[in-house]
Every structure is written in structure tokens, then in C-alpha cells.
């Protein structure tokens, strides 16, 4: 295979013990190659979000093995996982989670400032490029609370892209948006996939969204039923 594997789940299982023992995920195995645009669909409560948070390294309470970029996530410390999230994963959530204390530009810059690989000037330049790419150049110096829902979500996407992550993960990124803005966000993802060859893993229950992605993983009761 020419395209390298970006992310691999090996026999991942997870149980909740509260209020009673309940298996959320059982024996999930799959892998994602570079450049793929994958969506995970399933009914509410099927465990797709839980899976995403495990794959994102934020949830570490599971059985099985997660490999990101040929590197096993087992036995990594909280600090190392934070570094991996910073370097290799970009997030877009249902809610935008922008910091109202900072300008749009600064919000986008934060993960890169944390990474501390480039100078502040270079980071600012990159952040402006990302905004331009998403047609939002003129909003750079506004505070997030002055933006519309669709604009906020696009800023959140720009923030996810700032560190050139290996994979972009989305948890219902269009869940809070109207039809028109959902289309805009989908188009952006589509462009990232085709034009920039980015890898995307999006959890959604929007079937029209899912049906247009390259690959569909369908889940039910904590298992993958089709991929």
C-alpha cells in the first residue's frame, strides 16, 4: 500500500460502570489512511462519539490499542498525549469553543503558540492565510462573540488547521448549523480533502453529509456494522 496509515484502532473496547456495567464499545478495529475523508455514522448512543474521544487521545480509559502515525498511545503520559494532540490532531466540535477573551486571529494562533515551533510573527502570518483560505480575512481582529454561528465554526476549523495536523477530527461539526452553513462547512472539508489532501474523520448523524464522504463507517450498539 502506497498511502501510509495515519490512525489505527486495534480491538478497542470500553465499558461504563456507572450506574451499572454497560459496554459502550466492543472490539473496534479499523485504520485510516492518509488523505481519506471518513465519516462515522450511527444512532444516538451507539458509541460513535465515545470512539472519537478515544481516538483523539483525550479519553484514556479503554482496552485495546490506539496507534497514531505509527506510534502506540499506550503508556503515554498526560503531557505526551497533550503534545500529540497539539502536533497531530485538529479538532472541530459541535460547539465552537472559541475564547471570547481573544480576537479571532489569536484564537487560531493559540495551538501554534503552544507548539512553540515558529516565531509569533510566522504563526500570525499562517493564521491569516488560513482565514483567507476560508474567506474570513476581514474578521481577523474581531472578538468571537461578534461572529455568527457559521463564522464561528469556520474559525474553529481554521484553528484546527493551524498546526498542519495529520488528521482532523470532527464531532458533529454541522450539528448546530443551518442548512446553508452546513453546506459551507462540508465544502470546506471537501476542499481540505481534495485540494490539500488532508485526512478527516468526522462523526455525524447528518446522513446527507455522511453519504458524500469517501468512506462511511456505520456503528450500532458499540460495534462497527459496516465500513
Amino acid at each position: 500500500m502506497d498511502t501510509p496509515i495515519i490512525l489505527e484502532a486495534r480491538h478497542i473496547s470500553k465499558k461504563f460502570y456507572d450506574p451499572s456495567e454497560f459496554t459502550v464499545l466492543s472490539d473496534i478495529s479499523f485504520s485510516i489512511n492518509k488523505g481519506e475523508f471518513v465519516s462515522v455514522v450511527g444512532k444516538s448512543g451507539c458509541g460513535k462519539s465515545t470512539l472519537l474521544y478515544i481516538l483523539s487521545t483525550m479519553d484514556t480509559d479503554y482496552e485495546g490499542e490506539l496507534v497514531i502515525d505509527q506510534e502506540s498511545m499506550a503508556d503515554k503520559k498526560e503531557k505526551e498525549l497533550a503534545k500529540i494532540r497539539n502536533d497531530k490532531i485538529g479538532f472541530v466540535f459541535q460547539f465552537h469553543y472559541l475564547l471570547n477573551e481573544f480576537t479571532v486571529l489569536r484564537n487560531i494562533m493559540l495551538p501554534a503558540l503552544k507548539q512553540d515551533r515558529f516565531s509569533e510573527k510566522e504563526i500570525e502570518e499562517k493564521a491569516r492565510q488560513k482565514l483567507e483560505m476560508l474567506d474570513m480575512g476581514k474578521l481577523a481582529n474581531k472578538k468571537p462573540n461578534k461572529l455568527s454561528g457559521g463564522e464561528k465554526q469556520r474559525v474553529a476549523i481554521a484553528r484546527a488547521l493551524i498546526n498542519e495536523p495529520h488528521i482532523i477530527m470532527g464531532d458533529e461539526p454541522t450539528g448546530n448549523l443551518d442548512k446553508k452553513n452546513s453546506e459551507i462547512v462540508f465544502d470546506i472539508f471537501q476542499r481540505l480533502s481534495t485540494e490539500f489532501n488532508k485526512t478527516l474523520l468526522i462523526v455525524t448523524h447528518d446522513n446527507s453529509f455522511a453519504s458524500r464522504t469517501n468512506r462511511l463507517i456505520e456503528m450500532e450498539d458499540g460495534r462497527i456494522i459496516r465500513q
Partner: protein, 419 residues
């Protein structure tokens, strides 16, 4: 570690809630200002009151006490070796008040590095003649210059100058009570009679007020030479040596050592004035407790505000963690917030505390016991200010630590999924 970033995030969180932050900082300011003002005033007062006695008291005093010999002839004699001897009502023999060999002792003292200085003194009992009435008094023969350097002698001269004692022959400085009883002023002559019956005329060149009334009624000062002349003694006659050590705590050990080495009596300041230290330390403890209590209250204020801030900023904490900030980074952000409140509030507290103590320092405070003091005494010791700022940083650090730790442990998954 990227402190610049952490600092900039902390700053914007602070500024977003600047009113609450200000209230928290004012709490610290109030605590520190009170702490500084209270302690400046308390230690100022302590120093003044202690100085009333302690500054004038030698750390070690060498003298010769009149007492019967410990080795009575009967016990020395070989004849009565096998007997028990009982002698009652032993009297002191032909003892002299003079410190023997004082030239040698003073030379040894000069070489001792633990000693800041010493003043040889003579105490002479005399009668001051006021017409037909004789008033009992004491003339202290001393070296005014050294006495001023070591024991602040000139501070207590309310009329005249201490240096004149050395320059004007047959001069005397009287205690204010004594001068009143004798009805004399500067420039007048006083007649004295020694126990031996000799009469002298001395010129009053100064008035002395120690603040201790009993003392001022009997004490007077003259030079060593004058006193030796009055007593009809040779010029090596010395009854006391008042020693000031470099470190007051070494006084008891030095006193014991000298008593043995020079074969004199030696008394240290701790034995002579034990109660003063107790009083000072109690006052100091009370002031510190009040100051620290205020700071702890301010600390709880900061704790509350940070806790609230963390609940409000859960989303921000979650996204910071999701995008690569570790728990330690988040913790640092909130500790930075807390310490900023602490250092800002603390610095303001130092300034206000300084102004407050300046204000207290202008309140009139006159008492006949303390002639040189006109307003409340304030101690502007930089150490108090350093303690203040260190305390403010410690309390705010502790107040910030627990909320910050909680923020560091926030699980982003729970926050983000909860939406």
C-alpha cells in the same frame, strides 16, 4: 516552557473579569497594608519602650560587689580540717569597690572581636547641698563621648550638650528631678559633700531626662576625672565597666567568661531585665497574628474568585486541553492569575501600608517619660515590607493552588460531550 503564552492567557482571563479581580486584589491590599502599618507601629513602639531601658543598659556589666569572702580563714586553716565549722552573720571585710587591674581588663576588651565597645564608669554616692538640706544623689563618672556612641547618652540630654562635660572642668549634668529639687539651672553651681566629708562645687552644664522618674531624681553625670577627684581616688580607680556586645544573645556567655577570667562580678542584660523581652515578644506575636489572619481572609477571597472563574471558564479550559495544553499548563495559568493578584495587591498594600504608617507617625504622642518623642514611633524597617510581600505571595499561591489543581484536572471529554 512557554511562559509568555501562559502569561498572556492568564492576563486576558484576568482582564475579562477585572472587577472581580480588583476586589480580590483589594482584599490582599487591605491585608498587607494593615499588616505593614500595624507591624511598623508595633515594632516602633517596641523599640522605643525597650530602648527606654535596654539601650541604656550595658549588655555585660563588670563590677565588684561587696560581700564576705567565700573562703573564711577557719576553713582554710589545716588545724580545723576534720571539723564542721559554723559561722553565723559573716561581715564583709576591707573590700574595695574598685575593679582591680582594670587597665589590663580594658586592653583585653579592646581586642575582643565580640565587643562593640565599653565605657569605664565610677559610681559615687554623694550629698547635694541645698541650703541646709542634704539630698542624696549619685554621681556617675563616665566618658560622655563613648557613652553617647554606645548607649545614646546625648538623646536624653534635654538641655545643654553632652560634649561639654569633657570640655568644661568640674562640670556636672543633673537628672531633671534632681535639678528641680535643687532649684538649679544650666550655669548654676551646686555644692556636694562626699561620704568622706569633702566638699566640692560643680557647674551644672546640662539637664538629663531618662524617662524613669525615680532615676532622674538621684542620678547625675560627671567625667571620670572629676569623679575620681571628688572621691579622692587615683586615676586608675574604676568601679564599673559597661560593655556593649555586637550580638546581644552572646551576653550571658561573655558575662560568665569574664567573671571567671577577670575575677570580678559580671551581670548580663538578660538576667538584669528579663521581663522586657517577654513583653516585646508578646506584642510582636499579637501583631503578626492579626496581620496573618487578615491575609488568610484575603486568601479565601482569592480562592472563591478563582473557583468561580474556573467554573465560568470550563469551556475554555476544555478547549485548551483539547488543542494540546497539558494539565500542568492549565494549572500554571491559574496559579499565574492568583500570583498576579497577589503581587499586584501586595505591592499596593506595601504602598498603602507605608502611607498609613506615615499617617500614624504624624499623630502627636507626648509623654513626660519620653522627652525626645513627639509623635508615635514608626519603624520603617525594609524587612517588614519584605515579609509583607512574601506573605502575600505565599497566601495567594496557596489560595490559587487548589482551584488551579482542579482546573488542571478538568476532563475535556466530560465538558465537550456535555454540550
Amino acid at each position: 516552557m512557554n511562559f509568555k503564552l501562559i502569561f498572556s492567557i492568564a492576563r486576558s482571563l484576568l482582564l475579562a473579569r477585572w472587577r472581580q479581580t480588583l476586589v480580590a486584589a483589594i482584599g490582599v491590599t487591605f491585608g498587607i497594608a494593615t499588616f505593614v502599618a500595624l507591624l511598623s507601629f508595633m515594632t516602633g513602639l517596641n523599640n522605643l519602650l525597650d530602648g527606654l531601658i535596654l539601650n541604656r543598659t550595658p549588655h555585660v556589666r563588670l563590677y565588684k560587689e561587696i560581700k564576705p569572702s567565700e573562703q573564711q580563714p577557719v576553713s582554710v586553716s589545716g588545724l580545723f580540717n576534720g571539723f564542721y565549722n559554723f559561722i553565723s552573720s559573716i561581715k564583709a571585710g576591707d573590700n574595695r569597690l574598685e575593679i582591680y587591674n582594670n587597665g589590663f581588663i580594658m586592653q583585653a576588651l579592646k581586642k575582643d572581636p565580640r565587643i562593640r565597645g565599653f565605657v569605664p564608669r565610677i559610681t559615687a554616692q554623694v550629698f547635694f547641698n541645698n541650703g541646709t538640706v542634704d539630698i542624696n544623689g549619685i554621681i556617675n563618672g563616665t566618658d560622655a563621648e563613648e557613652e553617647t556612641r554606645l548607649f545614646g547618652f546625648s538623646q536624653y540630654i534635654i538641655e545643654g550638650r553632652a560634649e561639654d562635660l569633657q570640655q568644661i572642668p568640674n562640670s556636672i549634668i543633673l537628672g531633671i528631678g534632681l535639678a528641680k529639687r535643687l532649684q538649679v539651672h544650666i550655669g548654676d553651681m551646686v555644692n556636694i559633700t562626699t561620704p568622706a566629708g569633702d566638699r566640692y562645687r560643680l557647674k551644672v552644664i546640662g539637664i538629663y531626662q531618662s524617662g524613669v522618674n525615680e532615676y532622674d531624681k538621684v542620678q547625675s553625670y560627671a567625667t571620670i576625672k572629676t569623679t575620681q577627684k571628688i572621691l579622692g581616688k587615683a586615676n586608675n580607680y574604676i568601679t564599673d565597666i559597661a560593655i556593649k556586645t555586637r550580638d546581644i544573645r552572646t551576653a550571658p556567655a561573655i558575662a560568665r567568661e569574664y567573671a571567671k577570667l577577670f575575677d570580678t562580678d559580671a551581670e548580663d542584660i538578660q538576667t538584669a531585665n528579663a521581663q522586657f523581652e517577654t513583653g516585646s515578644s508578646v506584642r510582636l506575636t499579637i501583631s503578626y497574628s492579626v496581620g496573618i489572619t487578615l491575609l488568610i481572609v484575603a486568601g479565601f477571597g482569592i480562592y472563591n474568585i478563582l473557583n468561580m472563574m474556573i467554573y465560568e471558564k470550563m469551556d475554555s479550559i476544555a478547549i485548551l486541553k483539547a488543542t494540546g495544553f497539558s494539565g500542568a499548563d492549565v494549572k500554571r495559568i491559574f496559579i499565574t492569575i492568583s500570583l498576579s493578584i497577589g503581587s499586584f495587591g501586595g505591592l499596593m498594600g506595601l504602598i498603602f501600608g507605608f502611607l498609613l504608617s506615615k499617617g500614624i507617625g504624624h499623630i502627636p504622642f507626648t509623654t513626660p517619660a519620653l522627652p525626645t518623642v513627639k509623635t508615635f514611633p514608626i519603624n520603617y524597617n525594609p524587612l517588614l515590607y519584605s515579609i509583607g510581600i512574601v506573605f502575600s505571595l505565599i497566601t495567594t499561591y496557596l489560595a490559587g493552588y487548589f482551584p488551579a489543581r482542579k482546573a488542571g484536572k478538568v476532563d475535556p471529554v466530560i465538558i465537550i460531550r456535555g454540550k
